[in-house]
Symmetry: C2
Subunit: 803 residues, 2 copies
């Protein structure tokens, strides 16, 4: 809902079918609102059929004595009395005139613009009614159905029920279709019918669901004589909207006014109440400066939240034409989860279908179609292709990593069992990189160094290398070596291009590779010689360490790490040296433009973990993939040798069904125009002209220019991710420089002249997250290029202002 | 779907509205199936209107030359041509005859019984069409709408689309209502209409969703003269179902045959494919004896799975009249998650509504209505009432417990910070009970003793008491004391009644309480004196230790533990002694008949954890509640002091919305007749006649009798849980005795004479889980008494047979 005004109550009217009385009942509402001395706006976005019989004409004709209070508008008018999509098509096919069929965003923007105009033109209490065409799922002009076309605006809704035989069914089905798009139905109105008595059934049905139902007398039969018909119809309206202001229709007006006031009141209370009862993750409540610091999310759609602007809410109702709700770009893809944008109807239906078929069902020693389909997708056609044999389900990246660690530790200790006593097993170590992060549970944390995130019980188990990193500085791609290596090589290394950095085969025989190899090998030997922990697994976030600060690691270093721990012995069909775990919770499934990192690195892991994007940004679920030789380490005839780890909701069908649908949609997306265009922009940039697997949805020119700005230390981008490291002498997790420099992009920019890329074209702010002095921006996989361009412009302007 | 036969393909026909051609198109399908030389069963479960104009008459009249292949049936016939619920009501109101309106289960059972009769009467390839009445959501006889009434049977579905103006909308909405109940739509059929051209829109729309759409010519207008009308209609059927067997209708028959074959083939492949790619939790794959050991769950409804019977599938198609799908009672409530049964439509809609409004949205320093509502429910009106101030969201019981531990450890080390060095903090200990289990992540495991579940990295941090336990032995409620205490008291202690055991105020001054108090106090002093771990938190699963073997702990012992660690100093408004954590993941939210255990124990925790039932058995989510004084330990102006723990999908709106709906439904349930009846049965049993907070959905006579059986060591029940400990000299996690003794209840029992309590009245097997030599059975909170009685009978018979 990007349009909520104190002084303008808006309702959209959907019909349970065509010809159920939408226009008659809307006309009655308009007349009653006017009788209550309200300014009334009636909007019929699309009208089909002869103009003289159009609904807006009807509304005006029967507005009664308060006609001067009413303004009507029709945005798209077509003459054929058929479904709007067909009428628009016929009109555009009509040789006489060339009429383009408006796109969904043009359609939503036109309605939203009209609403904003009405809101600013009337600063007294006014009512607005937006009447849709046909039934809830009748196609609009583009062919998208009504309830999806209007969804970006998410207006409070009145459903006109169907009083005819069969009308109970169409009313309830229509309600369900609205509900699963997130609409709030404030009232159901229906004609009274003494024979079919649908009202008798629907009234208690909807009352149980908290929805008010009103029955109104049906209009008299249409008369052939125009004047007789007018008189009879006017008499009808006088009956249902009587002069004394007392009737069911007036009661509805009061109910709708009440809902409007309650909506504003509730929304206004959320921030304070949240500060009273919620304990947020990763938030220091002591630094939260009151209700204004709470992001109140009323709904979300595509890449945008619809948030409550508490500042606008504070203004008195008569002095502000501003919406209490405004769009906000979800600049962290909601903590890296969003793949396809919020409230994607196909994902909703996939979730609901699985809920309706299974709910959740027991998984150990059982199976169901969505779980098996997902396991097969990941193992055979997904990131496990070519190496994985098994999928193990859990709930989130952290539990998925704990399972991965248990697998690796067991595989290692089974193979080396005889030489390990109990204490040695408890202290088996991980080899990894400084800045790694594998989730918040204590076991996953123990696979990382001590740091700000760790709890009292944390015990760092292993050894972590300082990684060489990749970034763009002043327009140049650079590999920065840690001091431990820099002694042997000059640092930083300037790379000829981004694609060169990620061309592992070309770099494997470089002097730097040799340096890496020697350094890693020497270090491991030194750990062993000095009685350090017995290393039992190599654990990597390939290419990017996310929570550790969006650190892009030199892929060559990670490749060489794998090569070194595996040694030269290629044990076919089994893991070699140390089991290798790829934590692809963040980078996997196209977050950085590739399905998985193995093909780029040229090596496969023995175990890997997926979450976040996996379920399309809807519900938690994680999958740990393992090779057959890892699985074999647990296989015996003893129950106690099994991997005794599992969560109650293991392989919950909703998560599996949503994941399957997400992966199917992504498969089409990665071949789509938007991605091909972005890839070609980056490929053209490669000096060697070769196709590259590394590319970004962010524009190469923007990225390069940004890297040259004075406050930017370095930056890096791959796929959907853009991470900017700001210069800051303090640095670290507590740094505020990124927040400070970019503060202004949180606020919306009002530009009267043009529509924004947000739903309905409203001005928008940007929500983004920082990790110390690194600000990152992350899109969905399907964020439209125009939205990304728009975010780029805002970043650019904010930093220009900060110079 | 509890009815799937190799030799009998069944489809039910739903309409997108009334009067869209269901009967005409079904008649055409019947005629075409007969023309293909199939035996055809046509079932119209409910018919309204004059019998001579009934749909089954129409089907027979226009069956063409293959009439002898067709059998029709109508189960409920009413004369008024109105919606079935109204027709039934009018008939039952009719003074002349008293006709009861059939209940939903009578209705589903009648249909299912008819289907089974047809299946066993025809062992050759046959087709069956079940024609519903009105639209998908038209009410059936009881008033429940069609698609919910037919849901227990989950038959493959044909949707008859609506060709009229507005028909695109009603067709798609109807499809969505079917989809979210788990139905599979095999085909959409619709009349051809050259003006509105709905087919043009619907064909690609449904193709994208994998659904076949066919258009068929509409019938000629109805003629007033009966004979002329008959001839004209017959001519129509001859056109659309021609003698040469080639037409769209025949193509549909082929398509439906293909879908039927594919359904059986896919279902048959699931077990083998699962064994190839899935790694199950808690399962030793080495002990799985091939595909027959895989529980293939095709769908679920209420307390039952619908499973694939691979044995029936192996029979040749002609020799078996048995369904390939059969109901199976979900005897572990799907690992303790189910609160309201599977596929509850209100939960599905709550999930879908939240998905449609938000998807998932970012939670740190943000809020949304479902999350806040849930936090407030739990803190103010739920288990947190009177003590909790904050709700912290995570993903599952294990992560919820890790958060609880981090809270407690921090609270303790903040208060005692000066005396703790880094090593002491890392080794802070937990006080608990032997047999505790708090989840599978490594940190949660470290709060428990070493055991079969623990991994290489496990380090038991703390001290665990051997608990006194409560059970029923030979009809007598008994408290068994561990040897460490038994030296001071005679053991076992025979209790006068179950309610006496749980009457903490009455027992607090008993000699046993003093013994407990001294023993606990002495032990803690000894730990301290001997340089044992510095204890930093008391962690309890109150009343029942679930995964540890369904051990019912003497509540007095747990109460005294809390009293002792808190000491006599009552620090108002702050935690005292040690922070107390209640792990109510299993016992909370009415699993054992009470919302939380605090009121019974007479003490509140400082931290508590909820999951499983919380989300109504649909998706993973957990909440950790904390008192204000725990929250204060993290409050400062330093980010790094915050609780730096969070999961990507924190407070995901789907989970919150489902939880809110679940808690609302439970609130009504606990006041409902079924619970009051069960409670009064147990209250009457109390010798002191007092109302008791302890009671069970299981029958007291059954429980008492069961406890006297020779192979039963002891048993215990509370709320939905019945745990039976079998005599077994081996014991332990690897014990097989419970599995062996109860093996026979996994198989369905066929009793030709009566219908079962399962969906459609089909014979059912029981799925149950064991923990070593303990078998437990767990119902939903709303499992009907007749289902529980039926499960009791099966347990009783199985054990009788085993004597």
């Amino acid at each position: 809902m990007s349009a909520l005004f104190k002084h303008l109550r808006i309702h959209q009217i959907f019909g349970a079918n065509t010809d159920v009385g939408k226009t008659v009942l809307t006309s009655a509402l308009v007349r009653a609102s006017a009788a209550r001395d309200r300014k009334v706006f009636y909007l019929k976005p699309v009208s089909t059929g002869p103009p003289s019989e159009a609904d807006d004409q009807h509304v005006v004709r029967y507005a009664g004595s308060h006609k001067r209070m009413i303004e009507t508008e029709c945005l798209f008018r077509y003459k054929e009395p058929v479904s709007p999509h067909l009428a628009a098509k016929l009109a555009s096919e009509d040789g006489g005139s060339q009429i383009d069929v408006p796109s969904d965003s043009t359609f939503a923007n036109a309605i939203a613009s009209h609403i904003r105009r009405c809101a600013s033109s009337s600063l007294h209490n006014a009512h607005m009614y937006v009447e849709t065409a046909g039934g809830v799922h009748s196609p609009t002009l583009s062919g998208t159905t009504q309830l999806d076309s209007y969804r970006p605006l998410l207006l409070p809704t009145i459903l006109i029920g169907d009083a005819k035989l069969g009308g109970i069914s169409s009313t309830i089905s229509s309600y369900e279709s609205l509900l699963i798009r997130g609409y709030t139905v404030d009232a159901v109105l229906i004609f009274r019918d003494e024979y079919y008595r649908n009202m008798e059934y629907l009234q208690p049905y909807f009352a149980e669901r908290g929805i008010h139902v009103s029955a109104v007398d049906a209009p008299p039969p249409k008369l052939d004589n125009y004047e007789e018909n007018r008189v009879s119809t006017e008499a009808y309206y006088q009956t249902i909207v009587p002069e004394d202001g007392k009737s069911e229709i007036f009661a509805i007006i009061d109910h709708l006014d009440g809902r409007h006031a309650a909506r504003i009141r509730d929304l206004g209370s959320l921030s304070t109440r949240t500060l009273d009862t919620v304990w947020w993750p990763f938030v220091q409540h002591g630094l939260v400066d009151g209700p204004k610091d709470v992001n109140v999310i009323d709904s979300a759609w595509s890449d945008f939240f619809s948030i409550h602007n508490s500042q606008n809410a504070l203004e008195s109702s008569t002095s502000s034409g501003e919406s209490l709700l405004e769009p906000q770009f979800d600049g962290s893809a909601s903590w890296w989860t969003q793949a396809l944008g919020h409230a994607h109807p196909e994902l909703t239906l996939a979730a609901a279908g699985a809920a309706g078929r299974y709910g959740h069902v027991m998984f150990p020693q059982a199976t169901h179609q969505p779980a098996l389909e997902l396991a097969e997708k990941l193992v055979h056609d997904g990131p496990g292709k070519g190496w994985a044999s098994r999928a193990f389900f859990s709930d989130d990246g952290s539990t998925g990593m704990e399972i991965a660690l248990k697998m690796a530790l067991r595989a290692y200790s089974t193979r080396h069992g005889e030489s390990l006593d109990v204490s040695a097993k408890k202290n088996l170590g991980i080899l990894g990189l400084k800045g790694s992060y594998h989730g918040d549970t204590i076991g996953a944390m123990d696979a990382c160094e001590e740091g700000v995130y760790t709890s009292e019980w944390h015990k760092a188990k292993g050894f972590w290398f300082d990684p060489p990193t990749v970034s763009m500085r002043n327009g140049t791609v650079t590999i920065s070596l840690p001091t431990s290596i820099a002694s042997a090589m000059e640092s930083p290394v300037e790379a000829e291009s981004l694609s060169w950095v990620y061309d592992i085969p070309a770099r494997l025989n470089s002097p730097l590779a040799t340096t890496y190899r020697d350094y890693i090998g020497d270090t491991i030997r030194r750990i062993k010689a000095s009685g350090g922990p017995e290393l039992a697994a190599l654990v990597l976030e390939p290419l990017v360490m996310g929570a550790g600060g969006m650190v892009f690691v030199d892929p060559l270093f990670q490749r060489v790490m794998v090569d070194v721990v595996r040694g030269t012995t290629d044990v076919t069909g089994s893991w070699s040296g140390l089991p290798v775990i790829f934590d692809e919770v963040f980078v996997g499934l196209y977050r950085i433009g590739m399905q998985s990192t193995g093909p780029l690195l040229g090596v496969n892991p023995d175990i890997s973990v997926y979450a976040k994007i996996l379920t399309g940004g809807l519900v938690p679920m994680s999958i740990t993939l393992a090779s057959d030789s890892i699985f074999q380490a647990f296989l015996s005839d003893k129950k106690t040798d099994a991997l005794l780890h599992g969560h109650s909701y293991t392989a919950h069908p909703i998560g599996c069904a949503v994941a399957n649908k997400t992966l199917d949609i992504i498969d089409k997306l990665v071949e789509g125009e938007s991605w091909l265009n972005a890839q070609s922009r980056w490929t053209n940039l490669n000096k060697n002209g070769k196709d590259s697997t590394v590319w970004s949805l962010w524009d190469p020119d923007f990225v390069s220019t940004l890297s040259r700005m004075p406050m930017v230390e370095e930056l890096m981008t791959l796929g959907t991710v853009l991470a900017v490291n700001f210069k800051d002498e303090d640095g670290g997790y507590a740094s505020q420089s990124a927040q400070r420099l970019l503060k202004s992009i949180r606020e919306k920019v009002t530009d009267e002249k043009s529509l924004s890329a947000a739903p309905g074209g409203a001005p928008f702010g940007i929500h983004f997250r920082t990790l110390g002095n690194v600000a990152y921006f992350m899109t969905s996989l399907n964020t439209p290029p125009e939205t990304i361009r728009s975010v780029e412009d805002r970043i650019w302007s904010a930093l220009q202002d900060a110079i």
